[in-house]
Amino acid sequence: MGGSTMDQIVQYIQSYLNTRGLTPGAAGNMFWVLVYIMLVFLGLSVAVIAMNWLERKILAHMQVRLGPMRVGPHGLLQPIADAIKLLLKEDIMPAEADSFVFWMAPLIVVLAAFTVFVVVPFGPTHAITDMNIGILFMLGVSSLSVLGIVMAGWASNSHYPLMGALRSSAQMVSYEVAMGLAVVSAILMTSLNKDGTGTLSMIGIVQAQQAQGVWFVFKFFPLGLIAFFIFAVAMVAETNRAPFDLAEAESELTAGFHTEYSGFRWSLFFLAEYSAMIAVSSIAVTLWLGGWLRPFPNLLTGPTWDQAFSYIPGITFLFFAATCFYNTVRMPKHPLFRIQTIGLAGFGVVLGLIGLMLFISGVSMRIQDIFWFSAKVAGFMYLYIWFRGTFPRYRFDQLMQMGWKVLLPMGLGVLIGTGGMGLRSEIWNQAVLPFGRWIWSLV
């Protein structure tokens, strides 16, 4: 009996592998759903840690300094040291705070930030699930994080957090409108096929780009580009990052809504901020930059090009490994640096092995989608850091003006323009030509 149960379980697990082209959620296979959730969670945590280190290093190099150099070679272990520090720190709760709400707020923010990854498509089958309302779900759940921020600000029972929360909620609610309009114009583009039905499903959107043979950012040039620009601005505002970081404007409100938070709870906010950044970047990548599609999927077709592009992930990792080895050689030749040098070399070896693994044809075919998706998201992450290094901060009224008086009309215009371009033959045949004929008949 036990053996047959075992067999059933194994069969259940294997049954998913036979369903080609379905996400585990769509196939309804609980085991693989859990595996995917674990993988996404793990990948996201690694991404946040890497992002933490990269932001410090890149920002530091933009600002003519070195950034973390002490913990591990080139500060590679700094995020881990920070995490340990934050976990060990005292968790302070203000005496007059509303303890339950204070306790709940970071959880809600983190939950909202992580839940959106349920529908993010890292590949045609590499998503936890594919929902009919995918993009709506993403926007909806990410808009829930504003609740956590408001709760945090209110529960702290202090003026600066309250003002930060009010600013933040007003900002997020108003930029959601512009964001939504930009998203709608991209969704409208998905409906430009033979049967005329679009889709809200994240996977469907990427497949529509594949079918139409163009990334939506280049579609109806420059309409797609403008919509993308609106979204790119709104998403920076949505995640409260510079130059829209008024909610946590250090010089004005000390730290905004999380002024009173410390230790682990604070680190939850930090985690949520970074995963929200990754989440909105994923939306942008999915909607406009072709999601998991490699560059030029329609132009450079054929097995040769497929083969060539499948080498790129491996080459990238080998390049990282080579960078590590180069810096290993450049390390100071002092006994005190011996451990760091060995560590850096070890890191390089690990990266190199990953790179070599990616050359195995089976692996490279499976990993490609994820690689291209992550590479595009990484580009957005660099953009975030770049913004932070370059721009001063907007003032609140200017921010609102930008949202309501610039982005919103632009979004409406793009939406109308996209609709008009999509229906241009119908408009020409059914409105302009008859009207012209009518005028002609009058003459």
Binding site: V101, V150, W154
Partner: protein, 171 residues
């Protein structure tokens, strides 16, 4: 993509909704009430999903939980709630109100127990709702209900203007 363990999730979300609803009307602090209402709304969104109405569920989350409730919280923070929290929470007609509500509840029970046979006895029918929900809703919304849709947009415009006129100090 059929729902799994329907009874379990139904009772779970129904319980969340009812507990949330009770908390909404009993809490002293409006912020707590608002949070309880959010729990209710999210649980209701899940129930919409079980009823094969994903688009309504999405709208519920994005509009209700993400929009209207933020507005509520915003206003609660603008008005000072300190004083109202110290005051009596229920008004003088509370007894009459509860009696009236109980009578209404009795009416509901009577109607539902008399007429339970007209509802399908077992699990609800599988229907065309399995088809892509968003597209079908859109076809209805921009087809037969076009006029209602436009009226709704007009209503929203009126509401925007009304809210601005009401809340602005000097126009």
């Amino acid at each position: 993509m059929t729902p799994v363990a329907t009874p379990f999730f139904f009772y779970l979300f129904a319980g969340m909704m009812l507990i949330g609803g009770i908390l909404v009307i009993t809490r002293k602090n409006p912020v707590h009430s608002a949070l309880a209402l959010i729990v209710t709304l999210l649980a209701q969104a899940s129930i919409y999903l079980m009823l094969y109405a994903p688009f309504v569920a999405g709208v519920q989350i994005i509009l209700y939980a993400g929009g209207i409730m933020v507005l509520f919280l915003f206003v609660i923070m603008l008005v000072s709630i300190e004083r109202s929290m110290k005051e009596r929470q229920f008004n003088s007609q509370r007894v009459v109100g509860i009696i009236a509500a109980t009578a209404l509840g009795g009416l509901f029970i009577a109607v539902y127990s008399k007429g339970k046979d007209i509802f399908p006895d077992h699990a609800v029918r599988m229907t065309a709702a399995e088809a892509p929900n968003v597209q079908s809703v859109a076809t209805l919304l921009f087809g037969p209900y076009m006029f209602a849709f436009e009226i709704a947009s007009l209503l929203l415009l009126v509401a925007i203007i009304g809210a601005v006129v009401m809340a602005k100090k000097r126009i």
